[in-house]
Amino acid sequence: MEYLTVHSPILIVAIPLLAAFIIPLLSRLGSKVRDTFNVSLLGFVTFLVAILAIDIYANGARIYTLGASVPELARPEGYMVPVRIMFQVDGISIFMGLTITVVALAALVYSLQFVKNETGQDRFYSLFMLLYVGMIGLVFTGDMFNLFVFLEILSIAGAGLASYRVNLADAVEGGFKYIVISAVSALLVLFAIGILYGQYNLLSIAALANTMQFNTLDMIALAMLAIAFVMKLAGVPLHMWAPDTYAVAPAGITPMIYMSSAASMYALYRVTFTLYGGQFDTMPIGWVVIILGVLSMFIGVMMAIYQTDIKRLMAYHAISQSGYMLLGVGVGLAVLTDPVALANYGRDAMNGGIFHIINNALYKGMLFLTAEAIFFRIGTRDLNKMGGLAHNMKWTTIFFIIGALAISGIPPFNGFASKLLIYESVFRFNPLLSIIAMFVSLVTLASFTKVFYSAFTGPEMPAYREVREVPKSMIIGMGIMVACIIFFSIFPGLVVDTIVAPATDALIDQASYINGVMGAAP
């Protein structure tokens, strides 16, 4: 177990990466062998993530250096700075790792039946594993260049999966838009890394943070990094690609692409808090993040309620919910250099924003799955053509109700817990922001009431009399997420204390991140 714990950071990345290349070979043995292999493999990776999480919450951040005599050896002998490829997994990294892995497992189980009758399934699952690798690698990496590499991996895999249903013209368009914005974002990130490397001759995040001077070039690099990640996470006004891509991606892939946006949010936090944190007055960049968050919340929800395509509606809600995360963590960033404000409400705001990441991943992911469950059975995403589905799709209806109440912030669900944290802490920073956030929740509830009425309630439509519930694997996939939602709803304090607060501490405590690498002696 000690061996697994020590090597878990690399195993979590390497195993799915190898699997991505083995899957086409395994497909020759039959779909059952391939599907069993996929689920078992991801189940094992989930186990590895769990033991890594237990280790990190007990012992602090873990470093894994590739090629070193001992994995924890950050700097080779005689070197003042780290030079090898390194994973540095702290509280926020493992928080994202847990979120990504749970969503990936649910999405994979869901996809088993969803793509069963499609062609090119071996490529689907290969790209799925690569998408997972990209996300996990991005949140685990300790150096900027590998952050770029994993960003590219998840972008390319995501674009391939978004346009998987090549027979649908809008799927190809959605995939095309995704790869263009991803490529441009990644190039901006690479350019910014080039600026930093050109000045400091360093790629390690900890080493760069230790040396950062925050001159004009560094400001330009910060702007490029921050805005590139804001575009990847679909923050307003750089959000317009998201409904086009989320709406057309296959069922299990939409939550995964949404998680890649969440991974980009992690990258934004890593850059602003860890790479640049403490070097400058964070109030201006904090307010930039807050304004982007408020715009995302408001415009996202107002566009969502207008939609009649169920997946586009949910995509706009995903944008809106990202705004809550940006708002909460933005407030924390704005008061980062004010210890009193940080202790009074900054930390709680960050707890709320980070808690909202995992909550939203669960209920938004599940809502996407319910939308695709409807599409799977009736072949349309148009709300105008739906009605009375609750008569025949009872499980989907129940899961939708739970997801809709959670996303609207209705107690006792988990969405309420994270939103309450955000409302109360942001109110103390600026009451107007909190009022806007509450208004957005109201409109969110109105929007999902519209969807519930249109799709599920009403008389049984003659066209849908023969519609049945979705296959078991799809119900299980949704069920995994619902189980997590219910657990988080009943024990929000436990979740905040166990996994959210360490993530907040990891972001705030830049010194600890730097010392973990620069102070690690052979």
Binding site: I227, M240, W241, V288, L383, G388, F416, L420, A446, G458
Partner: protein, 112 residues
């Protein structure tokens, strides 16, 4: 059991769950006291709309684009402004990106 402590015990999820269970029990009890002896598929279970002929199911269900009509009508100006940037053209998205980066650099330089 750990609950979200914010000084307001009424927000405790456990309290809400207990309240929901009590309400569900009351609802089930009231429902159980209802009339059980009726024949499904007869006039007893048909839709009654003040005696007028009941339209087919598709016409009874309000389509999604009609819901919140008043809200959208009142905010017509807002929505026409909102729709304009959402062109669907990727080139326009890139222009937004350049503009926001420039604005962010300006903000950072001016406030440093």
């Amino acid at each position: 059991m750990s609950v979200l402590m914010y000084g307001y015990a009424v927000w405790s999820p456990i309290v809400w769950l207990v309240a929901l269970l009590v309400l569900a029990a009351i609802a089930l009890y009231v429902r159980s006291r209802g009339q059980k002896r009726y024949k499904k598929g007869t006039a007893q279970t048909d839709v009654f709309l003040s005696g007028i002929q009941v339209p087919p199911a598709e016409q009874r269900h309000i389509p999604a684009h009609n819901i919140y009509w008043g809200f959208f009508e009142a905010l017509k100006g807002f929505y026409s402004t909102m729709m304009r940037p959402h062109t669907g053209i990727i080139n326009d998205y890139m222009l937004w990106l350049v503009a926001i980066i420039a604005l962010t650099v300006l903000i950072l330089v001016l406030t440093s």
